[in-house]
Point group: C2
Chain length 624, copies 2
């Protein structure tokens, strides 16, 4: 965290300086978010960071969520929470999914035996753990970020969306009407509207879009319980397949006592809905006891229970242009999260993918609204996220089928287990890869084989040069809407004049068409839009900070104080170091272009300033 | 964090269930704390954790501190913050002191050269970093803990202590009078009073005690500045000795921009005080510029500056019994922190030692007030802490002398550097060792050579058996007033019947004179007073949780839910494992008795139940 640059200020540094108009509830806004779930809150938290973007977020429910249904937080989401600044709070409160165990019928179908035990998160998959924490607490953390943000943003609870129209009026081309808690009608005009209003989305309905996909027949029960058992793996994630009673998935919960169980129930008939079965806690408990036999399960309290038969469904488009040709118009209304894709909770993906939707959208909206990027950038949201949703649905379908397949099949357990392990990267959320587009450029992958283009920038341990702090390089990339250039230096380069990094910095600092010069507004810090960082190969004690180019120790803020946090060296105390872990070409180095949502957009040779200039010219708007 | 044991409750788990009478401001209290500095707040936070202890904390100032003078947080204090639950917040905000550099005059006395660069915290000295953060923020974190505690404790600001009398009245033997903010007189009767009211302590004065020691002649200036410099180590802790202009200590501050400088000034004359010199920021800046020559120092903003000539002084006693014989009475009034010892800030010890004072006192007061321990336990506070203060003063005197000694002496730099390195453990706060007493028992040290008796229990990485979580063993010891028994199992022992751990557990669980039975009140959880933990030698996947003794998976809370967080195995992924790091005798194992303030009280053979019983019988009170 960097603060005090404009003078010492007392108090919590997370409480950012208040922007003009902060906390107000204007009826004309830049962005109107409908829905206060994980997708809506991720977007609201992202937008609230910009002092100049006016947002409102409306929620149908009368107040904040107290008890969430989703709970699994994938490693990739934890990385995103880190960028928002609350990952450590989640790590403190959450259950950590460290290992997963598999149980199957014992010899001759009698009893249960543990067939395998594996690391849930493979080594160096992410610097973050896979955690389990109530969705309600994730909401709390987002609401806290919003309250402390420059915009001091808080939701409008009890707001029912009653109408939504794209008017294409010049200033505010979308008009939304709400029924407010006092039954009055409130009309909000917006530049952009984002529907994060769940599987029965009113926003989606207003666009005439529908969720398409399979009807779901398999019924599952889910309950959060406090229980006493002699099943030894009750505090591990456990997939249990009994011989004759079906399957059970155990997810230990935060706090050391509560456990979530997903219980397989009978298939639904053609026209039946989950609600028709009248599933009770006692039914679920009885079923779980049967599956766990010969182990005991004495349920002392039921915190929550439900039944679901969610199918795998997805929308044709995630914005108001639908499938129409995209030449003439740019989108003004978007949908995200459950509003545009639904799937079963067993893969633990729902909340995670919803948050990833709006983390993808947030910086794009901000860039367009702030005049940094062309509105066509917004096409990439539906393009990128719909492809990911489609992949997820296919994964979820396979997973659900394998999990529910009859346990009498002797190979079923082995197949499920193999599938589970193979797709560990996928469920961790780190496998998502965006196709080439105006903001993802293929090429030069061999310069950094461990940083696949289109995938999230994979962090690694480094030492920050100026203060010798051991840290994660990825943690120098907060969710602040900035692009990052990460320059990995070639062998022998210490940043001194004549080296590749010095030449790169000189060009970026002085060339008239340098993206840093072209896209940074007058009077702003040189890293306000594009933030250059460098990683050198020597031990940090063999570096000379004084010899670094000015762009790596730039003057910032009203006092022109030096920013010392741009330059890193490998951490040689922790296993393989960053150049090896991420497959950086040690002879030539590499320039990695990282999007504001932490995805690798491009890889370029260090000297390829024209290539870098051309990349940004595809979607950025010059500021002079 | 363990929660939901008595049923699911929504919201922040750090907000503990509210005790009866919480938040009230009664005029009859168990403990009255005078002073809201680090010592007072550590004590208040500790006491507020107990639903049944009524505390008030009064502060002369009109509101919370906004800008603190102390800033260095030693590793040991970070460990204590971890026990209170806010270490990660400090780690996020603070500057981390990773390395220290030494600068001395260059060849022939010209300019400056870096003479050495060392790790500030040696490997495996502590799992916590040495950090720098404004004292005001530390206060904020304590106040937050207090607000969320069962007692919902908040300070009484604007309260001036005007009188303090030990009346020896039966219920409330101490009476204090205050002038409240509205000028009214408020009388508070207390069982115990603790004066944490600083170097000019009114409480100390009322006891007739004085600080004794050297008058200070060496004048130092200190300032927090925002500056631009070409000195390359401005973001490292740097001790700089110039040839002719004196010495300078640089302590980088949190936030990446601010820097603290301690600047050596001329010695004071016999009768002179620091205030007489009228030290200004410009004077300090000029001096710092001279010392740093040939490097530039362009100060853009001064956040704070001061001058001090604090001597090394200590009280003869830290309680109201003074030096009188201790047979007849037990203490009712205590002093802590600057009220009983003062020293220069350069060793970065003041705030840390003050907090350690009251962390030592807090659990003792709680144990006596709750009827768990004999009042004679309270004698150990003055005994233990005065010895530590005396040591600190001697250390500080040597350190200050070495730092100020004339730089023309060619060996001075080398001597200072050697001294600094040699005493790294001391400045980290992990060297404090209490002498044998009723709560520190010598003997059996060879069973655990890396856990010196009388010193803080040194944490190490472990895997928690039930959920395979990698964690620090020391982090299973929150500041909740409980004693811990850490049973290290001998080779081959897996906790199964017949082994040493099973025998230990059986005896502790069933023997009529077992300390767990004798000192645990009826109806309380079996670990409510003495908390048993076990560490086994095998890989955690080779253990059978179901075979553990009941005492290691005890039923707890109103539902009788199993506590699965008692048992650990070595973490084999991280360097040397715990049995090797802490020198545990692998053949015989060891039973470590750990005090509520995390100090190792005794080491016993696993089978020595009589020894354990005898140890606790020295100061604990049977509950049946």
């Amino acid at each position: 965290m960097q603060y005090h640059f404009d003078g010492f200020t007392p108090g919590d540094p997370r409480v950012r300086p208040e922007a003009q108009g902060a906390g107000e509830r204007p009826t004309e806004v830049d962005v109107l978010i409908v829905g206060c779930g994980p997708a809506g809150l991720t977007l609201a938290a992202q937008l609230s960071a910009f002092p100049d973007i006016v947002t409102r977020i409306a929620e149908r429910k009368p107040g904040p969520l107290e008890m969430g249904q989703a709970d699994g937080i994938a490693c990739r989401s934890m990385e995103m929470f880190q960028a928002f600044g609350f990952a450590t709070r989640v790590m403190e409160e959450a259950y950590w999914v460290n290992e997963t165990v598999f149980w199957a019928p014992g010899e001759g179908g009698a009893g249960l035996r543990r067939t395998d035990r594996i690391d849930d998160v493979a080594a160096d998959l992410s610097e973050m753990p896979h955690t389990i924490l109530s969705q309600a607490r994730v909401h709390d953390f987002y609401l806290d970020i919003m309250r402390k943000s420059p915009r001091r943003l808080t939701p409008d609870y009890g707001f029912h969306l009653t109408g939504l129209t794209r008017t294409d009026a010049p200033d505010y081309p979308v008009t939304a009407t709400f029924e407010a808690p006092d039954s009055a009608t409130e009309t909000i005009r917006a530049k952009y509207v984002v529907g994060c209003d769940g599987a029965r989305s009113t926003v989606r309905g207003s666009l005439g879009l529908t969720l398409k996909g399979d009807a779901a027949r398999q019924l599952w029960g889910v309950m959060d319980i406090l229980a006493v058992t002699d099943f030894p793996d009750i505090r591990l994630k456990a997939a249990i397949r009994s011989a004759h009673s079906g399957s059970l998935l155990i997810i230990p919960r935060e706090g050391g006592a509560m456990v979530r169980m997903y219980v397989e129930l009978d298939e639904l008939h053609e026209t039946e809905r989950a609600a028709d079965r009248n599933v009770t806690a006692d039914m679920l408990i009885g079923k779980a006891q049967a599956i766990l036999t010969p182990f005991t399960l004495d349920v002392r309290d039921v915190a929550w229970c439900s039944a679901y038969e969610i199918g795998q469904r997805v929308c044709d488009s995630f914005d108001d242009l639908g499938t129409e040709p995209r030449d003439a118009r740019t989108p003004r209304i978007f949908i995200a999260g459950d509003a545009c894709h639904t799937h079963s909770p067993k893969a633990g993906q729902g909340m995670n993918v919803s948050m990833a939707d709006t983390f993808n959208l947030g910086w794009k909206l901000a860039a367009v609204l702030r005049g940094q990027a062309v509105p066509e950038l917004l096409h990439t949201y539906s393009g990128e996220r719909r492809a990911k949703a489609q992949e997820l649905i296919e994964f979820d379908r396979d997973m659900a089928r394998l999990f529910s397949s009859r346990s009498s099949d002797p190979d079923a357990s082995a197949r499920f287990q193999q599938y589970f392990q193979k797709h560990g990267r996928y469920t961790a959320g780190v496998e998502a890869r965006y196709d080439p587009s105006m903001i993802v450029q293929a090429g030069h992958q061999p310069l950094a084989t461990g940083l696949p283009i289109g995938m999230r920038f994979h962090s690694a341990p480094v030492i920050r040069l100026a203060d010798a702090k051991p840290m994660q390089l990825g943690h120098a990339m907060p969710a602040d809407g900035r692009w990052r250039l990460v320059a990995f230096a070639p062998r022998g380069d210490t940043g001194a004049p004549g080296g590749a990094i010095a030449r790169l910095c000189h060009a970026l600092d002085t060339a008239p068409d340098s993206p840093l010069r072209r896209y940074t507004p007058d009077g702003a810090d040189i890293d306000a839009v594009i933030d250059l960082r460098a990683v050198f190969q020597p031990h940090h004690r063999d570096m000379d900070l004084a010899a670094l180019p000015r762009l790596l120790t730039p003057p910032k803020g009203r006092f022109g104080l030096t920013d010392y946090e741009k330059t890193f060296c490998p951490d040689l105390k922790i296993g393989p170091q960053i150049f090896d872990r991420r497959g950086i070409d040690r002879e030539s180095g590499a320039l990695i272009v990282v999007r504001p949502d932490q995805f690798t957009a491009a890889i370029l040779p260090l000297e390829d300033i024209p290539g870098l200039t051309a990349f940004f010219a595809r979607f950025m708007l010059p500021q002079h």
